[in-house]
């Protein structure tokens, strides 16, 4: 599409109509100073081509002519697809659109309003805006062809434009046949897959999906059938096991019956043997009893005889020993009495030593108390002395008045304040010092001494003070006025007076009024305070925490104690007793006495023990003799009883041996029976009972197995009736059938997918192959303008320059790394290359609105050459305020917008 003319009115600064006409098919330079309406013109062109006439809103309101209630109106004459059109649009007020087509020499209306909007828009774009004014992505071809003011750069092109460019690029590769076959491929593919490559499901499910579902269901049925087959096998196995168990139980029962029979026979034999055993045991008991009686009698006779033989000599010996023991006891008693007498004497001697010990103790107490009394007396004297010294210091300090530390500090501060106030006042006053050659009388007119007449000697200095002025009049001379800076002298005076009063208050009562004297008083008072404090410290040390009264009491107590002992021992008054010696002698006597007592006690104990032992043995032997005499008498009586049977010892032995033989015979018979019983291994009754219980258990097991078998057989028959194997067979065959179909369908789906993918890849490669030249053309243009230093331009998937490959670098470099001017040149080169692609079918309009601002003059000249060449295929409209930069374009049509605005009406 190229444009022939454009009329605009009511558009921002273009309130009045302007008509830019007779545009060249080649390069057109529309120049004018800033603010003349170049960009508004461009904007009107964009709105005409892309925006609906009914668009309103804030964006559209903003394009209205400033300060006027005009309707923004644009009319464009253009050529597209070899046909000439005229488009008219008015926005906001009486909005409308008309599209006319030139037929012969006249334009004929072909569409109005919305239809006109759409028809025009479709010429450039398939991506209309939703609401409001169009945006870059809605511009269609113009995204590449038209660059707004200063916006050569762009980021990706919209899908419809990419398609258009790719279609333009690929058109040489496609034919009608290709398209037909592609449709067939797509159609076949879409039976299996969605646009996103997923298998179709739901109501439009592909055959693959349907077969997969059928297979899944069949597989579930197969699982059930398989379970039934397994159940059949399992139940069969269970029945088999139960039958085996039942048979085994039967066999065991049979074997057990035989065992029980044998056990019962044994049990009968056992009963008989037990009965016989009891009889034999009774016989053996009788024989044993008889034997035992005889044996006991014989043993008793023998024992009695032996006892008598032992007792008789023993009794005799005991009688002899008793006489000896009585004499022993007498001698031991005498020895004990003697030892007791010695012990009594020793204890009597010990009492005498106690008197010596008491004397020594009193001597020790006298010596100690005397020493303590002397020490105490000395300490009390010291305390009395300290008290006297304290009293003296207290009296001395009370005799004069002097400031303490705090008071003196206040006095010194008051003095300092006074001095300071005085100095400040002096500093604030103007001082006039006069030293006349001759004596004179000065009258003070202004100043502290105002009204005073002061006489001054010749050569003597006189001072006059005041503030802020001091004026003194001298007779015959005149007045002298001294001025000083204004200050608050009165305040300073008050401060001084206040300081003086404080000083007087603080020093009131002291004899001395100057600071140094007061300080001396203060120091003297501090020295007296220190001495007083020392005396008190010394007293505390001597009292050591006690009161003076306590010390006096203690002294009285000690004196009384010493006097008491001295009264008892007057000789100690003259000379202290030798306490150590007395103590030593008393102790030695006590130790000797204790040793004597100990010895006597030991001897007395030994004698006593010997006497007790002798007495005890005598008592024991006397008792022993009595017992033995009694035992001998009883034994003789017992023997007499045992011998009353009247038999001789020989006859008695004969009867005894006969009894012994009878007993042995009975024992042998009983052992034979017990041996037989032992061979039976205990009472078979328990075993019989156990076996019978076992047999009953096995019978129960067999019965249980029979019942279980019947139950399982019923289950087995039920499952068998289902014909599980046949059922599984039918399902597996159906599954096989489904699998074969599914495999074929999957194979076809995969084949179609691969076919489609390969075709798409080939198309993409083909497009890439033809897009490559675009990149090459852009790069060549860039090289012509900027030299080869920037290397190759690399286009992205959206055909926007993503980076450059500088010849000096092996890697790609971001476009942002290039200078501003170079970036302009890169985008211009790319736009021109793409514009060439888009102009393959027909000449297209390229609009550049003040876009080469950063490009230097040298490169701009080369850009001009490129544009001149491009103009052979493109209509180029350059909007600029620098017409001189494009003067080099020999074939360009220069259009002065300012002149048009001045001379054209509409």
């Amino acid at each position: 599409m190229i444009i022939r003319s454009i009329r605009v009115s009511g558009w921002r600064c273009l309130g009045d109509p302007i008509h830019v006409k007779e545009l060249s098919d080649g390069i057109n330079i529309l120049h004018a100073p800033n603010g003349t309406g170049k960009s508004s013109l461009f904007e009107a062109l964009v709105c005409a081509m892309f925006d609906l006439h009914g668009t309103s809103g804030k964006d559209m309101q903003e394009i209205r002519s400033w300060g006027k209630e005009l309707a923004p109106t644009v009319e464009v004459e253009f050529s597209d697809g070899g046909k000439e059109y005229r488009l008219w649009k008015r926005f906001l007020i009486d909005a409308g659109a008309k599209l006319e087509k030139k037929e012969g020499d006249r334009f004929t209306l072909i569409a109005e309003d919305r239809e006109a909007d759409n028809k025009v828009r479709l010429m450039l774009s398939k991506n209309p805006p939703g609401k409001g004014l169009s945006r870059f992505e809605n511009w269609g071809l113009a995204q590449v062809l038209w660059a707004k003011q200063g916006e050569l750069a762009y980021e990706g092109l919209s899908g419809d434009l990419l398609d258009k460019i790719k279609a333009s690029l690929g058109s040489q590769l496609s034919t009608a046949g290709t398209s037909e076959l592609e449709k067939l491929i797509e159609s076949a593919y879409s039976k299996y897959f969605t646009d996103t490559g997923k298998h179709r499901s739901g109501k439009d499910a592909s055959q693959v999906t349907r077969l997969e579902e059928a297979l899944r269901q069949a597989t579930e049925r197969q699982r059930d059938a398989n379970d039934m087959v397994l159940e059949f096998d399992e139940e069969s196995r269970k029945v088999e096991d139960l039958r085996a168990r039942k048979d085994q139980a039967q066999r065991e029962l049979h074997e057990l019956e035989k065992t029980v029979k044998e056990a019962r026979a044994k049990q009968e034999q056992y009963k008989n043997l037990i009965s016989e055993k009891k009889e034999r045991e009774a016989r053996r008991g009788e024989a044993e009893n008889k034997y035992q009686l005889l044996k006991t009698r014989n043993d008793a006779i023998r024992e009695a005889r032996e006892t008598i033989a032992i007792l008789q000599p023993a009794i005799k010996e005991l009688c002899e020993n008793l006489q000896l023991l009585e004499r022993e006891l007498e001698s031991r008693t005498a020895a004990e009495n003697e030892a007791n007498a010695v012990l009594e004497k020793a204890r009597s001697d010990r009492n005498k030593t106690e008197t010596d010990r008491e004397l020594a103790a009193k001597a020790r107490k006298f010596v100690d108390q005397s020493k303590l009394l002397a020490t105490h007396q000395e300490r009390l004297n010291q305390v009395r002395k300290d008290l006297k010294a304290i009293e003296s210091k207290k009296k001395e300090r009370g005799s004069f008045l002097a400031p303490d530390q705090e008071q003196f500090k206040n006095i010194r501060n008051a003095f300092t304040s006074y001095e300071k106030a005085k100095a400040s006042l002096d500093a604030a006053l103007i001082t006039l010092e006069i030293e006349p050659l001759e004596k004179t009388t000065a009258t003070v007119i202004l100043g502290d001494q105002a009204g005073e007449a002061v006489k001054i000697r010749a050569g003597a200095a006189a001072q006059f003070q005041g503030s802020p002025k001091v004026q003194v009049e001298f007779p015959g001379f005149g007045k002298i006025l001294a001025r000083g800076p204004a200050s608050d002298v009165e305040d300073l005076r008050k401060t001084l007076e206040k300081a003086e009063r404080k000083w007087a208050d603080l020093t009131d009562g002291y004899q001395e009024k100057d600071l140094n004297s007061i300080e001396e008083l203060h120091q003297r008072r501090a020295a007296l305070d220190a001495e007083f404090h020392d005396a008190e410290t010394q007293l505390e040390a001597h009292l050591n925490g006690e009161e003076q009264g306590d010390l006096e009491q203690e002294l009285l107590r000690l004196t009384a104690a010493v006097d008491e002992l001295a009264q008892e021992h007057p000789e100690w008054k003259k000379r202290n007793p030798a306490a150590d010696k007395l103590e030593s002698e008393a102790a030695e006597k006590i130790r000797a006495s204790q040793r004597s007592i100990q010895d006597a006690e030991n001897k007395k104990d030994i004698a006593q023990e010997s006497r007790v032992t002798a007495q005890k043995r005598l008592t024991e032997d006397s008792a022993k003799l009595k017992n033995q005499e009694k035992e001998a008498m009883e034994t003789e009586k017992k023997l007499a009883d045992l011998l009353k049977d009247g038999l001789s010892d020989a006859k008695r032995n004969e009867v005894f041996n006969k009894c012994l033989m009878e007993w042995d015979t009975a024992k042998t018979k009983l052992a034979e029976i017990e041996e037989k019983l032992a061979s039976l291994g205990g009472n078979p009754a328990e075993e019989v009972e156990k076996l019978e219980r076992q047999m009953s258990g096995i019978e129960k097991q067999a019965q249980k197995a029979r019942i279980q078998e019947a139950e399982k057989v019923a289950i087995l028959n039920r499952v068998a009736e289902e014909g599980p194997y046949s059922r599984l067979t039918a399902i597996e065959e159906a599954i096989q059938n489904l699998q074969v179909q599914l495999q074929a369908e999957q194979r076809r789906a995969v084949a179609l997918s691969l076919l489609r993918e390969t075709v798409l890849n080939c198309k993409e490669d083909a497009l890439q192959a033809v897009a490559g030249p675009v990149q090459a053309v852009a790069t060549r243009t860039l090289h012509r303008v900027s030299g080869e230093r920037l290397g190759n331009i690399v286009l992205g998937e959206s055909l926007d320059p993503t980076c450059i490959k500088p010849s000096a670098a092996n890697t790609e470099v971001s476009i942002e790394c290039a200078s501003g001017g170079e970036q302009e040149q890169i985008y211009l080169a790319t736009r021109l290359a793409l514009a060439e692609v888009l102009s393959m079918e027909e000449r297209q309009l390229v609009v550049l609105d003040d876009v080469l601002l950063a490009t230097d003059a040298g490169r701009l000249a080369r850009v001009m050459r490129v544009l001149e060449e491009a103009a052979e295929r493109l209509q180029i409209l350059i909007l600029t305020c620098h017409q001189e930069r494009y003067m080099g374009l020999a074939n360009a049509k220069m259009i002065d917008l300012e002149k048009i605005r001045a001379g054209t009406g509409w």
């Binding site: 059949f232 194997y725 599984l728 490669d765 083909a766």
Partner: protein, 375 residues
């Protein structure tokens, strides 16, 4: 003594690999059983021996049992049947069905114990479990008299290539067990174990109807005749099977063009009784593709079952005539690429999913779409 020896009827047989044709194959086994009975009647056989695996499984449809019993009852003379490893004598087995006792002539031999025959004795070896390595004939007592002794067993004879090696039987079982004839089941093909100059004393009758592709000498019965005088044997095989399980292997181009294969298949007689498996491999041209489609149409409609395995077919690298008919541009380029991908020896870079098989299929799809486009 004259009797029919048959085995491995495999009633209720599963034929999952042939899909829906399985039912027809199963039905045909009943017809074959009827033919067996018919033959036995024609031969005036004194009895019939069924050497195991009468049924495919104990879990088959109970109606199959009744149907089989009815067929055998029609023979009217004794039929001695032993359970095989597919239908062993276990709880819930087919042999518990009342149909057997109802048919008075059918003797299901459940114990390894001699059974009196007119003029001889039968020593049966019923299988009582699916798998076992024991010799089922081991129980047979030694020969005592001169009577005809016939063994009936189901198992694998030493050296015979059987998939299920169960119930191993010695090759010299007839002499070792003192048998005049040992009727065997388990192997689905007819087989004897005697030297050509010796009488046959042990044989597999084979299945009465073939059971699968590649099965040799199946689909028949044996008529056994034993002389009561010298106990000499005569074994004659008679066909009873009707279905043919055929496999055709075709290699392009050495076996000829697919057109020839189509012609050959078209000439197969009684295709409704034929299960046909065609395996085609080699390189194909676009012309072959059309014939291949035609072949699939024929076999799919005429035969009891037909499977065409063309997964090993590769497009001919030289066949670019049809590609010239493709519109120039991406599609023709895609076809050329796919042809490269389809060549397993091609060493160029290929997408992950473009393996030769798939590329070959894709190419074939393109070719077919081209044909549709032309129409």
């Amino acid at each position: 003594m004259r009797f029919v020896h048959t085995a491995d009827w495999q009633i209720g047989m599963k034929a999952a690999h042939i899909g829906e044709a399985g039912k027809k194959v199963r039905d045909e086994r009943f017809d074959a059983a009827r033919r067996v009975v018919q033959k036995a009647k024609e031969f005036e056989a004194e009895f019939m021996l069924l050497a195991g695996d009468t049924f495919e499984d104990n879990g088959i449809d109970r109606l199959h049992i009744q149907k089989t019993a009815d067929i055998l009852r029609d023979f009217a003379r004794p039929v001695y049947v032993i359970p095989g490893n597919h239908d062993p004598l276990v709880p819930g087995s087919v042999w518990e069905h009342p149909a057997w006792s109802a048919a008075g002539n059918i003797k299901v031999l459940k114990e390894a114990a001699p059974v009196e025959l007119p003029g001889g004795v039968l020593l049966p070896c019923p299988a009582k479990e699916k798998h076992s390595s024991k010799d089922p004939t081991a129980w047979m007592p030694s020969r005592v008299g001169n009577e005809i002794r016939i063994g009936l067993a189901h198992g694998s004879v030493e050296g015979v290539q059987i998939e299920e090696k169960d119930y191993l039987i010695q090759r010299d079982a007839p002499s070792a067990r003192g048998l005049d004839y040992l009727a065997l089941g388990h192997y689905h093909s007819f087989a004897t174990f005697n030297n050509p100059d010796q009488p046959c004393r042990m044989a597999y009758s084979g299945s009465h109807e073939p059971t699968k592709f590649g099965e040799r000498d199946s689909g028949g019965i044996l008529l056994v005749e034993i002389s009561k005088q010298d106990r000499s044997t005569k074994v004659t095989r008679y066909p009873t099977g009707r279905l043919r399980w055929e496999t055709l292997k075709w290699e392009l181009p050495s076996s000829g063009p697919i057109e020839s294969l189509v012609n050959q298949v078209s000439r197969i007689e009684e295709p409704e009784t034929v299960l046909l498996r065609i395996e085609i491999e080699g390189v194909f041209t676009t012309v072959d593709t059309r014939h291949l489609e035609h072949l699939k149409e024929i076999v799919g409609s005429r035969f009891l079952f037909a499977g065409v395995d063309d997964s090993k077919l590769r497009p001919s690298p030289q066949d670019d005539t049809w590609m010239e008919s493709l519109p120039a541009g991406p599609i023709r380029e895609a076809a050329q690429r796919l042809r490269q991908f389809a060549d397993p020896s091609w060493v160029g870079e290929r997408p992950a999913n473009a393996i030769p098989d798939k590329a070959s299929d894709a190419l074939m799809e393109l070719f077919l779409l081209l044909g549709k486009g032309a129409k």
